[in-house]
Symmetry: C2
Subunit: 332 residues, 2 copies
DNA sequence: ATGAAAGCGCTAACAT
DNA sequence: ATGTTAGCGCTTTCAT
C-alpha cells in the first residue's frame, strides 16, 4: 500500500487559518469567483498558499463538482507513431485548457470496459480511437458518457465523430500514382472489402480505367508491411506501384524491397498514408497523405469540453498529399 | 462547461436500496472487504450493480482514501518513439495493477509545476523522465510526493532512481566498432563534456588506444541527426565509424548519408543506442544498444506502488547489444 | 453478517 | 466582502 510520508497534507482550512479568512474566501480567491474578494485579502490568501505549499486536492474538487478536469483517450497502441502523435496532440490540447489526459491502450477487446473505467474516474470526456460496435456506442452514450469517436466509420446519430477522409485520401494517393504513368498498382493493408482505403484504391483505379493490381493483406505494423513486401518481391505478378495503407506498413515494405535490391521508386513506386514523422526519414522518403492529427485532436478536445460550435458533429478532415521520393520527387 | 446529460448518476446508495442492503455492504462486496459478506447478499449486490449500471465514483473513493489509483509520468516528448514506448510500458504495468496513467509532456521548463499538479491530482506516484534540478527533487520529495527518477543522473539520497547504464552501453557500442577494426570513430549527440554517452565513447577509445574522432553536436531528434550527418559528409576529416547517441539521431544521420550516396556500413559503420522499433526498420538496420525500457517501467511502477523490494533504489540496468547491418552483420 | 454514521477536502448557496 | 455550512459519494470504525 502506498505509504504516505505521514506528512499530513495541507488543506484549504489550513490556508484559511493562516490567512485569517474563511475557507470560502480561499475558494473564491483560488477559483476567481464566484464571489469577489478584496485585493488585499486575496494577496494574503495567495501568500498563505505559497508559504504553506498548499496543493488543492483534485479528488475533493472533482467529487464536489462532478468533473475532474481530465479527459480520457483510448487507442489501440500508443507506441504506434500515429497514435503516439495523437496522444501527444491530445495532451497538448487538453493541457492548454487545464485538463489532464489519461491514456489507455485498448487493443484488446474490452474497449467498453476501459471506457467505463474512465467514466468512473469522472473524466469530462473520452476520445475513442478504437473500433467500437454500434451497440456499445449507444449504451455508453445512454449511460451519460461524453464520447468523441476518432477515425471510426460509425457516424452514430448523436455521437460526436471526427475522422479524416481516408477514402478520398486513398483515392488521391492512387491518382498520384496514375499521374506518374503507373497502370499496375497494388494495394497493401486491410483487404477486407469494406476497408475504406481499399475502396478508395479500387475507386481511383476504376475512375482511371485501370485494372486493379494485386492486394497484399497486412497487419497494421512494420512487421505486417514487411511480410507483405516479402510476398510481393517473391511474386511473379509484381506491380510497378503500390498504395500502402499506413506509413508503418510502408516502412516494412521498403525493408523487404531493400533486402531484395528492388529500387524505389524506379522499380516500384510507393504512396502511403498517415504522414507520421518516420515517413520523412525512411529511405527513400515516403510520398504520403498526411492526416491532420493535431487539428483533429484539438477539435475533438474542444468538442468534448464544449468549446466547439455545435453542428459540426461528424466532421471529415481532408488529407494532404506530401510528395517525396518514393513517388514523384527525384532523389537528391 | 461540460454539460452532463442530466442523467442523475447512480450512486452506491441506489445500489444499496435496490439490493435491500446498507451502503456498507455494497462497499464490502465491491472491495472484497474489509468485512465478509454472505454469498447470497453479495450476489444480490452484484446483480443490482449490473442492473443499475452502477459505476463507482473514483473521485469520492480517492478523496476518502487519499489515493487515486493513478500514477503520473512526465516525459520530454511523448511522441518520441523511446518515450512513447516508455509511456506504453508504464501504462501496461500500471493497468495490470489497476492503476491508470496520466502522461504529461514536460519539455518546457516547468517540470516542477507539472509534478505538483499531478500531485494535486492525488496520483500515487510520479515517474519523471525529464531533467530535474537537485533542489527541485529535494523540495518535491519533502512535500510528500512519491517520485521515481528515470534515466537521470542525480542519484539523490532517498529518491528512487532507475536508469540504464548509458555509460557502459556507449562503451560497449564503441568497443563493437573497435572490434570491427575501426580506428577513426566519431560521435554524434550531446557534446557537453559531462554527457554520459560522450564519456563512454571517450573512455572506450582511450582503453582501445585510439584517438577520439570528430564530435558532431546534435539535438535529440531526427532533424538533429540529419543536420549532424550533413556536417559530417561535408567535412574533410570523415570518420569510418560513428557512435550515435540515439536511434532517432542515427536515422537522421542515415538520411544525410543516403543523400550523398555514402554507403553504410562499407564507408561508415554506425552504432546507436536505445533499441527502439524503428532501429530495426531503418536501412540499413541499426546496430544498437537496447535499453530495457519495459522492464524499467515495470520496476519503476512496482516501486512507486510499494510492490518492490527495498534496497534497490538507484538501480542501473545493463544495455543489450543488438547487432544489425549498420555494423557487424552482413546485408542480405 | 450487516448497518449507522462520521468524515475525506472542496464548492457554492445562503447568510451576514 | 466575507463567513457558515450542507453536502458530493465513498470507506470504515463501531455498533448490533
Amino acid at each position: 500500500m502506498p505509504s504516505d510520508l505521514s506528512k499530513k497534507a495541507i488543506t484549504r482550512a489550513d490556508v484559511a487559518r493562516y490567512a485569517g479568512v474563511s475557507t470560502a474566501v480561499v475558494s473564491y480567491t483560488l477559483n476567481n469567483g464566484p464571489k469577489p474578494v478584496a485585493f488585499a485579502t486575496a494577496e494574503r490568501v495567495r501568500n498563505a498558499v505559497r508559504v504553506l505549499g498548499y496543493r488543492p486536492n483534485a479528488a475533493a474538487r472533482a467529487l464536489k463538482r462532478g468533473s475532474s478536469d481530465m479527459i480520457g483517450l483510448v487507442v489501440p497502441d500508443s507506441s504506434n507513431p500515429f497514435f503516439a502523435e495523437l496522444a501527444q496532440a491530445t495532451e497538448d490540447a487538453a493541457e492548454a485548457l487545464g485538463y489532464a489526459l489519461v491514456v489507455i491502450n485498448g487493443n484488446d477487446s474490452d474497449v467498453v470496459q476501459h471506457v467505463n473505467r474512465l467514466a468512473g474516474r469522472q473524466v469530462d470526456g473520452i476520445i475513442v480511437a478504437c473500433d467500437l460496435r454500434l451497440v456499445d456506442i449507444a449504451n455508453l452514450t445512454a449511460s451519460g458518457i461524453r464520447l468523441s469517436l476518432f477515425n471510426q466509420l460509425h457516424p452514430t446519430e448523436g455521437t460526436h465523430a471526427i475522422g479524416s477522409d481516408l477514402f478520398n485520401g486513398a483515392k488521391a494517393g492512387v491518382f498520384h500514382l496514375l499521374q506518374h504513368g503507373h497502370t499496375h498498382i497494388g494495394f497493401v493493408g486491410n483487404t477486407t472489402p469494406s476497408d475504406t482505403r481499399l475502396r478508395g484504391w479500387e475507386d481511383a483505379l476504376r475512375e482511371g480505367g485501370v485494372a486493379p493490381g494485386p492486394r497484399y493483406p497486412a497487419g497494421y505494423s512494420r512487421e505486417g508491411g514487411y511480410a507483405a513486401g516479402q510476398k510481393l518481391v517473391a511474386s511473379s505478378d509484381r506491380p510497378t506501384a503500390l498504395f500502402v495503407s499506413t506509413d508503418m506498413q510502408a516502412v516494412g515494405v521498403l525493408r523487404a524491397l531493400h533486402e531484395r535490391g528492388v529500387e524505389v521508386p524506379r522499380e516500384i513506386a510507393i504512396v502511403s498514408l498517415d504522414g507520421t514523422p518516420e515517413s520523412e526519414y525512411s529511405w527513400p522518403a515516403l510520398t504520403t497523405l498526411r492526416q491532420p492529427v493535431r487539428q483533429m485532436a484539438k477539435d475533438a478536445v474542444a468538442h468534448l469540453l464544449g468549446h466547439a460550435e455545435a453542428a459540426d458533429d461528424h466532421r471529415l478532415y481532408p488529407l494532404e498529399l506530401v510528395v517525396r521520393q518514393s513517388c514523384g520527387c527525384a532523389l537528391p
